[in-house]
């Protein structure tokens, strides 16, 4: 029996440290862990016990949050592999990807002038999500082969693409709001 605070996020959920995570399994273990440590279980057990419950439940929440999303999971895996990605200097990115990004940004910015802006958003979203899928597969493979520099670059691409998706969602909501008003 080891201390919860000495485990990494994958160990907390008893999962192998890999990019491929069974989300149903992760969620199921998450719920069972919270059943044990959630502060609601310790409302009248004294201040120290409550504090410990808050700390443990927070850690489990943070671990769950990190592993649930592919982007933060990839980031965390690289940290586990010993890469100092929080203070990264190397932000190089292949030229063709950057060109694609510039083009995509222009397309996102001009969505509103499109004749059918909402279906244009849908088209771009589909395109970005496809690309994300490919990059994620490459990341999983690179990480497994311990090609961490390569994996690192792929994780940065995932961050870019994730941002694109968020921006497109925001645009969609803004357009929907205008159409409703």
């Amino acid at each position: 029996m080891s201390d919860l605070f000495s485990k990494n996020y994958f160990e907390i959920f008893n999962l192998p440290a890999s990019f491929d995570v069974d989300i149903n399994l992760l969620t199921s273990v998450y719920r069972n862990l919270q059943k044990e440590v959630h502060p609601d279980r310790f409302v009248s057990s004294g201040e120290r016990q409550s504090r410990m419950a808050v700390q443990m439940a927070s850690l489990i929440n943070q671990a769950f949050d990190t592993l649930k999303s592919p982007v933060s999971r990839a980031h965390y895996l690289l940290k586990l592999a010993g890469m100092d990605i929080d203070h990264e200097q190397d932000t190089s990115m292949d030229m063709s990807f950057l060109m694609e990004q510039i083009e995509l940004r222009e397309q996102i910015e001009s969505v509103r002038s499109h004749s059918d802006p909402l279906s244009e958003v849908d088209r771009l979203l589909k395109q970005v999500k496809e690309q994300m899928k490919t990059v994620m597969q490459s990341f999983a493979a690179a990480y497994q082969q311990k090609s961490f520099d390569n994996a690192h670059e792929l994780s940065r691409k995932m961050q870019f693409l994730n941002k694109n998706i968020q921006e497109l969602d925001d645009v969609a909501v803004a357009i929907e709001d205008e159409l409703l008003d």
Partner: protein, 625 residues
Amino acid sequence: MALLQIAEPGQSTAPHQHRLAVGIDLGTTNSLVATVRSGQASTLADDQDRSILPSVVRYTADKEVVVGHQAQDQAITDPHNTIVSVKRLMGRAVQDLKTLSQHLPYQFVADDSSVPRIKTVAGDFSAVEVSAEILKTLKVRAEKSLGGDLVGAVITVPAYFDDAQRQATKDAARLAGLNVLRLLNEPTAAAVAYGLDSGEEGVVAIYDLGGGTFDVSILRLNKGVFEVLSTGGDSALGGDDFDLAIAEWIMTEAGITELTSSLNRQIISAACSAKESLTELDTVTISLDLDSGKRQLELTKLKFNKLVDSLITKTLTSCRRALRDAGIEKQDIKNIVMVGGSTRVPAVRERVAEFFNTEPLVNIDPDKVVAIGASLQADILAGNNQDGDLLLLDVIPLSLGIETMGGLSEKIIHRNTPIPVTRAQDFTTYKDGQTALAVHVVQGERELVSDCRSLARFELRGIPPMVAGAARIRVTYQVDADGLLSVSSREETSGVEASVVVKPSYGLSDNEIEGMLRDSMDHAEYDMEARKLREEQVEADRVIEAIDAALIADGERLLSAEERQQIDKSRSRLTEVRKAGKAEDIKQAVNELEKTCESYIARRMNQSIHDAMAGHKIDEYISDK
């Protein structure tokens, strides 16, 4: 005759004794209290069999405080001293009220405190004090009908309440002498009432339109676990706004340009009853008693629907955002539960049904469902229902950030992050020898700090002097299960705990609350010392009981003989001190016992995690898919 059972000294006489706990829905328009008796949750009524307590408080010249129906009856004749919809003022600052107060008949007093006070004939009162009167009334009602002291209460708040509004609610409970077991989000409470009742599994949306607030939550229900996926809403949008929309129409139609407080109340009250009538009728006649004589107006349902259309659209925009935050499509929503009196408005039901493409559920009384859900959780938190398989996993409704250069907010904890949550952030100094650092915490989604709610400003002091950039100050933000923020900090290179002085931007300081408690107790000749002593004794009993239960369960397995001896020593010291009856000593002995047990407690929790993982059966995984 059965033999009397006598417990060993110091042990709890009845381990399964039912503890009296209640759920309270502290609403904008109405408040309710509910409890679980013999496994059944129900609301508690007053001596005239009324469950609903109007959230109205009237202060009279002879310093009497009248709460509920009787106060409501005086709202038109005595508008300045009769406080309605006080929930809208909770956690609000003087400057926030400028936009609200055009519609409010009260006079506000702005003094040195950051909290505005309402001027009445009986004195000036803050929203917290007014709310405390409502809570006191419900507490008295509950204790009378249950026949004993309450161990605690779960009090509901709108999911969209920010930190200041939550803190204000907790302060009101403290002032009313209630032990708050948990602040629970209203939609989550409704989901509990609904989900436990029906054994429903899957994703549900809770649409909660109350008198003054709107909330929407998306939850996943799974084997007694209620996991909030996202929440959204507007803490200043509700049925009151429907009334205002009608009131404005009335004023235009009747050509009213000058408003006295009393006329304002008359119009709003007429608007409110017109709204209620239009639930059943297609046309309603509004009668006004004006200085120029009597006046009658016709309002059709069609016109009313037009008046409130943009308000309903606002709620649906929040719904859409909540769905997006949850990563859920409309068609994944299995059911929509309607909560709050304002969901009786047919146009609301129609548009919600149209939006989700599903008929919403209205089978639990929308006025009672929140209080019922809160009472179910109170029952479990009080320890009455040990086998109850209920766990609520909630989220923080609004992002927390800190002010950075240029007045921008840098998000530290994003909205819809599961709580409790802890985040740490490192700062450094920018000048040689700098020993202090100021941090401004805000809540909200906007980029500019000026568009967010200011929660607190604090200063870190006592940083050891170093060259610029050498210090590493780690600030830890923690949001607990009530959704309340606390901050701590530490200089990492020296290990110095920099002191954090949090000044809530809008809220009562501890001193102010202590003062209010003292004032309110003066009449009752209440002794602060006696109260403190009783609180400490209750706490001591609680800790002893918890430790005893733990020791029986696994003391043998997890403790060495020496450790056990230490614990027994601290425990008997506490029972001795408890008898001697000095609050300070008890507090210290409790602390001592808890400290002695700390590693044992940690071991127990790690053990239970270990057991839970080992007991994780394969079939559970499969059934979840």
